[in-house]
Amino acid sequence: MQNNLRAVISPIILICIGLCLSCTGPVEMPRLASLTPLADQPILHPDYTDITLPPNIAPLNFVIENPGEAYFVEISGELGSLIRISSRKPEIRIPLKSWKTLLESNQGKDIRMDMCVKSKTGEWKRLTPVINHVSEDSIDPILVYRRLHPMYYLWQNMGLYQRNLETFSETTLITNNQIEHSCFNCHTFVQNRSETMMMHFRAGQVSGLYVKDGDRHLKINTATDFNKPAAYPSYHPDGKRIAFSINNLGMFFHATGDTREVIDMMSDLVIYDVDKNQITTDIQISHPDYLETFPAWSPDGRALYFCRTNKLTDYTAGSDKDPQLQYNNVRYDLIRIGYNPETGEWGKLETVLSSGECGQSITIPRISPDGHFALVCMADHGNFPVYVRTSDIGMVDLETGYWWKPDINSAQSESYHNWSSTGRWIVFSSKRGTGQLARPHFAHVDKNGQTGKPFVMPQEDPAFYDSFLETYNLPELLTGPVELNAREMIRTMYDNEHIVQATLDSAVTHRNDLAEARTGWYILPY
């Protein structure tokens, strides 16, 4: 009986082993030299073709979408080094170590990707090779971003994460799980350095401004008689003061097309001096007749750039009782004002680029480290580019005032962006494809402000983005990892007894309505 059983089971086991081996065994590699490249273009997903990439970026894993039974990829550099990958699946995962060697040894040169696809008849077909360029300019190795589901009114789970761009490692800095699901917004650093950090929390017990300055943790209430709590920040290069906008934002919804939109009903700029714990402002940056927002310091700290538009009542039509806001006519100009960090005195305002001139609403200026260019968002209207499909990344030459839209934009919204510490790379959020989920994209920028083709942040699983429903928010490039003691941070956030109450500079004599700003329902277009 036992022998009979063995006689039946043994062949079954052997067949199973054979089947397993045939399914998982290595794919034979074609001889590239014997195959003539076809005119067929490889369809790579994500699109990592014809790009300039940093020499320190993680492997650009991809999926070959050309149909086939098996796949072969050979990556070679002009200056040597070779990677060969064969796979039965279209997902191509490049080994990290070999990739590093390849990029390091081919800085400033091209790398070539030869791809072959095996047809059903067992014949290998060679696709047109892909050539990418390896830049000599490294990208800052850390990207900090907020990750959350596309947000409307409600929020629940969100987290601040840092990703090592040289590997696939992502670590959690903080999630709002630990702070009773409070919402946290802008995070900012001093010139791509991770030592000093600021975050803005809202709602609940932890609401306030959190500042980490080295080992020092502070919770600050920036609300004064002049203003309600601060919103969009920009750290001065000296790390001792922060320019903030004070906004009164409202969301409304469309019946068709893009669903949501945000409008700023009132805004002003203030400066918070961390050492003096003082809020100050000037009539030129907080004028009652204008809405000033999105501050950005120049790298030398001697100018403050920001965006400005007329007060909203200038955009209303209809009767006095029922003023209808022409929200789609609201456009912002790019403004600059001189600043003396030693004395705190302000210079004269000047319009760098007016919306009338370019026909666009200019928002979120970010100044290149050499002070030569401003990267901005340009949309047909509004102040919230991440919700506006027409929003593109624009480049402004700050010396000549010449502006253009680099060839990095898509039909969907391109929004939050920033420079690397060297100024040779930019990161920006793009909703290309889905229209609803922002992904961080990188592009090389040369000294003339010319950009390379952008590429999405690589993931270990090349199909990662195809089923990932969260959006990446406010990507910031850093030269080193953030050393954040989450426990200390949470303790500080909950410690309302030691909250630092900002004072108002006695020199500020003018007033606006922002200290008691209401929801502004009367001006919203519904």
Binding site: H149, P150, M151, Y152, Y153, L154, W155, Q156, N157, T172, I174, T175, N177, Q178, F252, F253, H254, A255, T256, G257, T259, R260, G433, T434, G435, Q436, L437, D461, Y465, D466, S467, F468, L469, A486, R487, I490, P525, Y526
Partner: protein, 602 residues
Amino acid sequence: MNHRNRDRGLLTTAFLLFLFFYTRFAIQPEIIYQAQEPVFFKTARFFVDFLGIPGGLTAYTAACLSQFYILPWIGAAVITLIIGGIVSLTHLWLNRLQPERTDVWLHLIPGLFLLMLHSHYHHPLSMTLGLLLAMAGLVLYTSIPIKNVGLRFLFYAILCGLLFYLSIGAMLIFAVLGALFEWTKNRSVKGALLGLIFLCFAGTLPWIATMLTMITPKQAYLTHFWIASRYPVGWAPAGLYITLIFLAFIPFWLPLFRKLSSIIGDRIKRIPILKKTGWICRIILISLLTWAAAHYSLSRDSRTLYQAVHHTREKNWDTVLEVISGNPMNHILIQHLSARALHHSGRLLDDLFSYPHAWGKQGLLLSYQFNYSAPKHMCDFCMDIGHLNEAEHWTYETLTLGGETPWILHKLAEINLLKGETDMARICINKLRQTLLHQALADDCEQLARNLAAGRTGAYPFPIRTDFIINKHKLEEDLQALRELMPQNRMVFEFNIASLLFDKDLEGLYNQIGRLPEFGIRTLPRHWQEAMILRMLKPDGSKLDLAGYKLNSSLIQNLQNFQQALLLKADKRVEAYNELAPAYGNTYWYYLIFEEVAGNAK
């Protein structure tokens, strides 16, 4: 097998069989699924996310097993098996505590409490799984033949650490019962001190974890152990844990208990019929007790609510109305769902006031406040009525609150396909493909994509071509705008008319009669007729042109009867409200007269 084992086996089997059928038919696992909508994906990434946090593995397993609630028989089996495991482990533990003989039913007590807890539709399976793990640890710990105190402590500490990682706060159950075991085993001051030391160690473990990992003290102590939820049987978790502690002292009180039960037993044995069928009576008694506990703890209102939601999603409109008729509770959602079901059954304007309507227009269209606490219903309604952008808005609010549930992924995919955002829809479909049991929803979306590509929109209303700004505070204004933009949309039309009925806008109702033929409606709906009869009582009423529609003479007679009945109760409003309800409660006139009284009832 001796008598005791046989009795215990029969009793346990009877209990578990009752539990299984009660869960299947009374609680209904598919309704638990509806209430909880657990999120689970069969991908490595989803699993890895749970690995890094204490209690993650229990949460992961619970999320996985909760998926089976959608299959009622398997769902009931899952709950029964887990509770069965706890009951068996309790029996083993009691045997370790009192090796000689324990009573045949004591081990069922935790099962009884768990049955009560699972009668609450939001009770998380992770808590039950946590208890299962704690009891398994306890049985393991009480079984080791190690006598050396140091080694025992080491074993206890390792188990505490392991259980904390596996099931976080539920470790405390093991910690307390394990420490008590040290005391009850030695029955000395030394034993008590030893237990106390053990307990102190276990008590500090979650605190240490808060230093080392990113969890808060509340999470460290309470996750999978206690939930701050509005339990109808809020005391049941406490009752369960106190009972377990009480059972841990069994060596102290069992002798007394035995003495008592032998006295009662002797008396029972004197009754001839009970002498031979004593164990059957015991089974019946335990079953009755179980049924009583289950019956008491089952929230019928919750069941009605989730059943109505469940059948609405399944588009079983007649069943929705049947469920609501069985328990016509005054809940805003119940009113809303009944209105939708009535519309789809072609009876909205005939029977609107036959179903709960105390919430008035808010119940019809859902209120702003309600939507932000439970946005998924607004999302479903907007989708139903063809208001795609608002459906998208509320779908995202639901996604934020409830996570990536299969239903919300399906809705998002549908909306995006209809809006032409195929890349976004593809992401949702891919995500649906990663679920355990919802491949059919993904197939459904694929089919819709094929249909749309072929130009077939099917049951989906035409999209709105002209934009307007949504007034989130006044939904009826949006409804009016929709009426202008989607004149062929019957649901918009009917909800508008229902809204006018609630507004008591007789003039508005009269003005809309001319539109009835557009929808092929040949008879003026009953409530509309009731409103028009009232309109005719106004000074210019006789000149009304009802566009060829006729008023039912029996309705006119009915109104006269109602008026006479009202006159008799002229000064007793509340009394009239109650007395006239059986005969006239389903008429528009009754609503008009008693709206305020009915409103107070909500």
